[in-house]
């Protein structure tokens, strides 16, 4: 919990345009954001505004939790005269001392956009007085940085107690408020390591959200976006060998299954034996099927078959001339070759027909894959797969069931159609 007085530099120096649009305007933006962040971080935080230039330093707003009053006061600022840093600091301290809620820590945020005329010794004496009264000071130096550097550093050193004060120098040509976002000025007490984290990092992340959506505002949307992104990545990995090809390959394809297939194929690569690739790919396919079915997913086998068919279609053209000693150094290349070869096996003759035969394939393939006898023979030919294994049996049975269920549903549907 904190009471803050923001000391605004409204001297003639701030008319300078080296911080777009002007020093003064960029400062006003930064103050608005800072006040918003401070008041948002804790409902009991208060922010006041004090102008340092003009006839006298003037407290425009005593520390208040009302953001509207602060923004309003910033609107009415006039640029005039030169800053009186020494008395501004003392007035700010007085405003803080008489805060309503004594539990609040005291903080001054000092914007310096003009040369400091006070001599160093006096400035440091003020810093000591602030420190003695438990006032922390954040300094933002954004113009005349070089000539002020020495005094500000001395000031900071004198006022700093337990690392509660900070000096942020923002070079010309940058956007002041953006530079401040990531700085300790915006990371309130706690961000630095003491007290409770009252995080104002929210402001800092405002532009940095992964999908341009604030995950805190709409967690479901963010989750959906993330899931779809991951699926897309899995798809790209799975179909890596055929970029630009039809992406039917992954429609509904279980990402885990694809990953398994990739891993297995990848593991077999060094051997380079086409037959082994083939067998492993079969195994991978079987595994992916198992996984799908064991999970009792609604995805019917035909989807997988569709996917396989599409894969073949994609690869049909280069496949014909695929020699075994072809340069097989890329894993994706190998995977594709393995897939093609597996297709040759699964759909004897059909694969060679190329794209032209694509339309007929899905039916034929799903027939093949749904045939338990064929499946078990395929599985039996795989190394390390026991057809009598209960899980394999379960998978086979469930595929049977699914098929009959599907046909039942089809029948029911057609019945309905008929009644209509």
């Amino acid at each position: 919990m904190e009471a803050t007085v923001v000391c605004v530099d409204n001297s003639e120096w701030t008319r300078s345009g080296d911080y777009a649009p002007t020093r003064f305007q960029s400062q006003a933006d930064a103050v608005n954001l800072l006040a918003g962040a401070k008041t948002e971080a804790n409902a009991e935080n208060t922010v006041g505004v004090l102008t340092m230039a003009g006839k006298n330093p003037k407290v425009l707003v005593t520390p208040t939790p009302d953001l509207g009053r602060i923004l309003n006061s910033m609107q009415e600022l006039r640029i005039e005269g030169e800053c009186n840093f020494a008395s501004s600091m003392l007035i700010a301290q007085l405003a803080l001392k008489h805060r309503q809620n004594k539990n609040q820590r005291q903080r001054i945020v000092l914007f310096v956009g003009s040369p400091i005329t006070v001599d160093k010794a006096k400035f440091v004496r003020i810093a000591k007085k602030l420190k003695k009264n438990n006032v922390a000071v954040d300094i933002v130096s954004f113009g005349s940085e070089e000539e002020n550097a020495e005094k500000l550093e001395a000031f900071l050193e004198a006022v700093n107690s337990g690392d509660n004060s900070h000096l942020v120098t923002v070079p010309a040509g940058t956007v002041l408020s953006d530079s401040l976002f990531g700085s300790p000025v915006f990371q309130q007490e706690g961000g630095g390591g003491y007290g409770a984290a009252e995080g104002e990092e929210g402001g800092a992340q405002r532009e940095g959200y992964e999908f341009g959506v604030d995950p805190n505002l709409d967690p479901e949307l963010a989750m959906a976006l993330r899931v779809s992104l991951e699926e897309e990545r899995a798809r790209q990995v799975a179909s890596g060998g055929a970029p630009g090809g039809p992406d039917a390959a992954t429609q509904g394809q279980d990402a885990a299954g694809a990953a398994a297939a990739r891993d297995t194929a990848g593991a077999a690569l060094p051997a380079g034996d086409p037959m082994e690739d083939d067998a492993l790919l079969q195994e991978a396919l079987a595994m992916s099927m198992q996984e799908e079915q064991a999970a009792a997913a609604a995805a019917p086998l035909s989807v997988l078959a569709d996917a396989a068919a599409a894969e073949t279609t994609t690869a049909a053209a280069p496949e014909a001339a695929l020699p075994e000693d072809m340069d097989m150094d890329g894993m994706d290349e190998d995977l594709r070759a393995a897939l093609q070869m597996s297709m040759q096996e699964v759909q004897p003759g059909e694969a060679r027909q190329g794209a032209g035969g694509a339309s007929e394939k899905p039916a034929g393939t799903s027939e093949d894959l749904n045939d338990p006898a064929y499946l078990s023979s395929v599985l039996g030919s795989l190394p390390g797969v026991d057809v009598n294994d209960p899980s394999v049996q379960a998978a086979l049975n469930s595929s049977q069931q699914q098929r009959s269920n599907a046909s039942d549903t089809d029948k029911a549907n057609s019945d309905k159609e008929g009644k209509k």
């Binding site: 004594k102 009264n133 438990n134 107690s161 337990g162 003491y194």
Partner: protein, 171 residues
């Protein structure tokens, strides 16, 4: 006069404030039970040897005595003490200038053994905030160290809300 007790339990900790303390040696080291009995833990001033401690109470209390103890042997024990009542926004400049409700000087032996200083009971009635201003240290050193502060008095009349009973419920 009611028996005097340690008013530790009546201190409103969230409103206790100490100006010019070192963050690594906070006021709780001198005030809180357990901490203040430990001679290894102390409250130390930061920029100079002055300390200003505002002790707020949960209710108005009557004060009878105060113990300020420091086992420091290098002249960093507190010497000149000023006490103010109910001035929550007292600062160092006011504390130095204003007339205190009571002020006294501690001898080296007093602070070492933590001798109880009797307060003018009539002047410390209905105290909500006691401000302890330690103006200087024994040897005018750079910093002041305080190991224990204990405040004695009595709580006066207390109203316990749970004891309030509804009137005329039976009729």
């Amino acid at each position: 006069m009611a028996a005097q007790t340690d008013l530790l339990d009546l201190i409103d900790w969230s409103s206790v404030e100490c100006l010019n303390q070192q963050p690594s040696h906070p006021v709780s080291n001198a005030l809180k039970q357990g901490y203040r009995e430990d001679d290894g833990l102390f409250l130390e001033s930061d920029t100079d040897d002055q300390l200003l401690i505002h002790v707020a109470f949960a209710q108005a209390v009557k004060l009878q005595g105060i113990v300020i103890k420091s086992v420091d042997t290098e002249g960093r024990a507190p010497r000149r003490i000023k006490l103010f009542t109910n001035r929550a926004s007292l600062g160092f400049s006011e504390a130095a200038d204003f007339t205190a409700v009571q002020e006294f000087e501690l001898s080296e032996d007093d602070v070492k053994e933590g001798k109880l200083q009797q307060l003018k009971y009539v002047k410390f009635q209905a105290v909500n905030v006691l401000s302890i201003f330690i103006e200087s240290s024994q040897g005018d050193e750079e910093t002041t160290r305080v190991h224990k502060i204990a405040i004695f008095g009595n709580s006066g009349e207390k109203m316990n809300v749970s004891e309030i009973k509804k009137q005329g419920e039976e009729s």
